[in-house]
Amino acid sequence: MTMGYKKIVLLKDTGSTGRTKEFYNLFLEQCRLENLQDDVQIVRVADIGMYDKGIVVRIIPGDITYAGVTEAHIQKIIQQTLKNNKPVKELLFTRASKQMRVVLKSCGEIDPENIKDYIACDGYQALKTMLAKSSSEDVINELKTSGLRGRGGGGFPTWMKWKFARQIEADQKYIICNADEGDPGAYMDRSVLEGDPHSVVEGMIIAGYAVGATKGFVYVRAEYELAIERVEKTIEQAREYGLLGEHILGSDFSFDLEIRLGAGAFVCGEETALIASIEGKRGYPSPRPPYPSVKGLWGKPTVINNVETLATVPVILRKGGAWFASIGSENAKGTKVFALTGKVKNSGLIEVPMGITLREIVFDIGGGMLNGKKIKAVQTGGPSGGVIPEHLLDTPVDYENLQKLGSIMGSGGMIVMDEDDCMVDIAKFYLKFCVDESCGKCAPCRIGGFQMLGYLNKISEGKAGEDDIELLERICNASKKASLCGLGQTSPNPVLSTLKYFREEYLEHIRDRKCRARKCVDLLTYHIGQEKCKRCSICMRNCPVNAISGDKQQGFLIDVNKCVKCGKCFDVCKFDAIIRE
């Protein structure tokens, strides 16, 4: 293999000064003076994988990275590194990505619609080895060693679930892949199904073998059109290649899969409701026990696992449970995929070892805050989770830690919030989601949710009294204790956690009728700061309800009785003369 490419210098200003172009020109100029322009290509990059490290220069081949580079260093880099292949020691920086891709390893690498791409990356090797050498008990033991816990939200040890289902004698057992993924802001499972669908199918076949099931269902929400199309192709190809159906890979084991589409109700992600939905019934949850692994689909023992959990299984069998258990922290093993969104620069899908801190996720992987604003909190676990305030961002991420803080790991949505986010508004947003999605079967969730939302609305409208907080908390606790399923048991979490960490903000809404993030419209008033106003009349011309009157001689005024607080004048004013309080 030739190492024949010419030298490449990648550079980027990772600080806030944005000097990439200027520095690029300087570097280019000096290389020209040294007559290096034909041997070296200098490239401005959009992202160099490091943040807040000043100007970063990466030289290829050799892969040398320098951080905190200034103009004064350019000559030294040219003379030592470009001409003589020697590093400039004082600038050296070791690039280390804090991500670790286990489940997402092939997402974005392979063609998801081509089974051969998956096979080329050791796909179905775990299945083959298992069929040749392992008993179902071996598989479950390997999972036990790995410490894998469910990635769908509950965090239940996967091996235990499989063991329960395996122990029971039954003429038929089932495997279900839960791809309902209803949390707002979460799309981990969709990406895995779209990017590496065979890994999920292989995981399901292995699960079938381990518990003695011959039939499986992938339950996907109907909105996930591309995911569905790819899973369909995957099942077809796997059948054609003898990886699904009778006598898999020529063995005695048979297993087949079907897709079931969900209509997009959040509650249908809850396992008992999901099972009812597959049975053709209304998607209502039912009390547990009995757990699905004992009495599930059509009354038969059923293992129901999340997409990511299942996609992790083949890797564990291939590389060993001990390998997986060596990743992560004391309490939580392996890696977890998160959908990082909100006010963060690099929003996207990330996979990190358990035990990483939220701060590392936001600043080292996410590249820090969008618009340079101050971070206020990170929301994890979607509508069942809570917010974690800035001062607790150094907490290592695992199931227990997040729970202790009043949030949950959940399925992996992670939303970064800044000063412009109002915590009452956030609580209202998530609770509203749960109220809309409540199936209505049990009263604590149906009525409790409605009442809680009523109090939150009162608070954000400035109509609440201080005792309302107490009443709100009481209903929260009742819903947590008395609801039938996880939806109502966890829907108070966003409310309780914002109350826990941002009570002051609630009190401001109630006592001072103020929303510091300026999100709660009813608490805002708009008026015109006459000193700054240039009397251009743009506000008057844009007001949709004619609440602004005046002329260019007299100046302009907003009639607070007419104003609908839409914020249009605030947005169009070029002189910051509209005051919003």
Binding site: Y5, A46, P61, E109, P112, A120, R190, G195, S251, N346
Partner: protein, 118 residues
């Protein structure tokens, strides 16, 4: 296709691994397609065909960098493997012109450079 067995899976793996040479991959998951990856894929395919380039153009899933979609990864022998982001029609053409034909990297669109290959 004859069904695979435990014995023939490995042969299928070796055969599948053998495809080498130059390639371009376009992230064609929902996030990529929503950002315009479909057009980018079509342009790359058209241009490659028009210019008779010896390069495979393939689809792949989401690489995670949703903020920079559409993502296009390029491997040309003798050059490092590069991930371009925010690729629109013009950038797609520039990738063909400059990177594939001219063997030079594009400014301002690189989101990752992978060097472990050659």
């Amino acid at each position: 296709m004859k069904k695979l067995t435990k014995e023939t899976l490995d042969a299928c793996r070796s055969e599948s691994q053998r495809k080498r040479g130059n390639w371009i991959k376009v992230g064609m998951s929902t996030c990529g397609i929503a950002a315009g990856a479909g057009d980018v894929f079509a342009i790359l395919q058209n241009e490659a065909q028009k210019r008779n380039l010896d390069i495979r153009i393939e689809k792949c899933g989401c690489a995670g960098m949703c903020y920079a979609e559409p993502l296009v990864e390029v491997y040309v022998e003798g050059m490092p493997q590069v991930v371009y982001g925010d690729v629109d029609k013009e950038t797609a053409l520039a990738i063909i012109d400059k990177h594939i034909s001219g063997k030079r990297l594009l400014n301002d669109h690189i989101y990752n450079v992978k060097v472990d290959r050659s």
